[in-house]
Symmetry: C2
Subunit: 360 residues, 2 copies
DNA sequence: GTGAAAGCGCTAACAC
DNA sequence: GTGTTAGCGCTTTCAC
């Protein structure tokens, strides 16, 4: 009926023990490593292991006390370069720590996020890492606090990666990047080039990421004695298509805008495409900047000025802090730095569509 | 010493049973679902579960007969868009099938690939999916065959995703895409536009992916009675940086080349950047095409003509065939179609740097 | 419809 | 040094 070779079941310690002429316990000791075993016995056991091509049953091993040696990793969408790079950091560090990585996606579905976390709880993973901005409602926050405690009780550590802390009394590790600082620097960069009407494309009310970035955006204006035109903070999802449509509308309705701050590089890609389609030059007519510094940012045309996030470090740190939380006991909230990387998509403002020889 | 609340251990079926005033077996039956239980008992049990915030121990459950309900996924690098999208397909389908995803990376390290697969074997995953081109040596092939059998005995199914079959007698599922066909179509497209000197950038001897693509490339030439200039098949890794340097060299050494077929879109991005830096226009002076159709392909400038791979379907199919291999018993080798998507990076050839009014 | 008991594969006390 | 035994948390016969 079935295609696989049933009948010969998977070998167990018993099989190995029988073949090597020792007891199962001895086999376990040899394989475990940290126990004195006679060299001759070890040799015989190892030979039996090799001959039978034996591997231990991870479930059985995990059942017996210890942890399952896994790290769970929850993202919205593995496909986004930001997530993928954090994932890479997580995976690399997990491997170095001798852990396996469990991955789950939520696709903007809060219910699914909860379901997924329960699954992770069942797995008794060493850490459950939540990546990306969380939602900013009290209800959501309460659920997270509850989850942190549930996981803690199950022996897992909740790690918030790229989203703010839930409070000091909550058993969770937080690894953030300086979201606001990045937005501040970038906005200052634009402002100091002379831009005064900057549109922020891709605000997402109730997303923690947005809140921080808008704060930085606003503070940069305030610090220069400028005011933010709130109509220029445009809501939208972090999608290429949003950058496209929002830019078209902006072009039509707000000829005074000289720079666009896209919430993510993905959105910026859409913006650039819309500009090209409308024959608006970047950066001569309009400057464009992004956020994330994904690898293809430098392949866009023009190469995109953007905010670099230390994605790899974010992932590695998350794993490191969670696993060694005894050593890092007083360092369970870390903020990694961000910085802008200047490429070719920003220039001083000009009056759009009226090309003056110099950029004044 | 430790930060987590030790002492109160994780609840078990026993705790739930005690609280609900039933036996552990009954709790298991309620939670399992598929067994007749009195409505009143069920209610009491469910209440206890909720009150204790109980979740089952996945390891213990897996130990008892069944599978671990996980799918293992081995890629070279999660960061590449191609892998990420296949991963997404795998993850989505796995979720639909009630499975969790285990992810591992190999980073071009064959030894690590083997180690990783042993880890997966320990986990008794339902399927172990290997994504991306394999290496073409007999030794490697033999090891794969051996692994297929080992996994089969452990109750796991080996799935080769995007690489050729190991032979009909090997217990493995193969989900390929028409690698050669894509290369053939694309090359024909270029040829029919009038290009005669096409460089293939990013050949990788001993990689199965390359072999298939070069075959398609060559066959397209042959079918039109043309011959391939073997010097134009240039070795290199699938990296942006390779596209960059190889193009610079090509520009300097081979002014007769009118089109570049990049092995991947990533390489194509490097090619386009090099062209821009050298003030060579695309597609007017040189046409460029890629392979993969990653999302940012349409954001390159000019938008890239490339070969579309059904990544999502690849991942989903891999999972589906592996899990339901009894139903799909005679369909364990599937080849999904590829097709070219024409955008703006190809035009008929001109004599480079000498701009003629029409493209002859 | 429910309980008691056995056992999955492994490791950690505890003997010898 | 090595064997024996118990038990991790769960499911699943087998009784009742």
């Amino acid at each position: 009926m079935t295609m696989r070779s049933d009948g010969d079941r998977r070998y167990t310690v018993k099989d190995v023990a029988a073949r090597a002429g020792v007891s199962p316990a001895t086999v376990s000791r040899v394989l475990g490593g940290t126990y004195p075993v006679a060299a001759s016995t070890r040799t015989r056991v190892m030979r039996a292991v090799r001959e039978l091509d034996y591997v231990a049953n991870a479930q059985a091993r995990a059942l017996k006390g210890a942890t399952s040696k896994t790290i769970a990793f929850v993202v919205n969408d593995v496909t986004g370069p930001f997530f993928a790079h954090v994932a890479q950091g997580v995976e690399k560090q997990a491997t170095e720590e001798g852990r396996l990585c469990l991955v789950c996606t939520t696709h903007d579905d809060t219910a699914r996020e909860l379901a997924v976390i329960d699954l992770m709880r069942e797995q008794s993973a060493d850490a459950v890492i939540l990546v990306g901005g969380g939602i900013e409602t009290d209800e959501y926050r309460d659920r997270m606090v509850h989850l942190a405690h549930s996981l803690d009780k199950a022996g897992s550590r909740l790690v918030l990666c790229g989203r703010p802390s839930l409070g000091d009394d909550v058993p969770a590790t937080v690894v953030e990047y300086d979201n606001e600082g990045g937005a501040y620097s970038m906005t200052s960069h634009l402002l100091s080039q002379g831009h005064r009407k900057i549109a922020y494309l891709g605000a997402h009310t109730s997303l923690t990421t947005t809140t921080a970035r808008i704060n930085g955006f606003t503070r940069a204006h305030t610090d220069m004695g400028l005011e933010v035109d709130s109509e220029l903070i445009i809501e939208g999802r972090f999608l290429h298509s949003f950058g496209l449509t929002a830019t078209r509308r902006l072009l039509a309705e707000r000829p005074d805008v000289t720079a666009i701050f896209a919430a993510t590089d993905m959105v910026a890609a859409g913006v650039l495409q819309a500009l090209r389609q409308s024959d608006v030059r970047c950066p001569e007519d309009i400057s464009v900047v992004g956020y994330d510094d994904v690898p293809f940012a430098s392949d866009l045309y023009p190469a995109l000025t953007t905010v670099h996030i230390p994605t790899d470090e974010l992932g590695r740190t998350a794993v490191r802090l969670a696993i060694h939380r005894d050593e890092y006991a007083h360092n369970q909230h870390v903020v990694l730095g961000t910085h802008i990387v200047v490429r070719d998509s920003v220039a001083p403002p000009t009056i759009r569509r009226v090309r003056t020889p110099d950029g004044t």
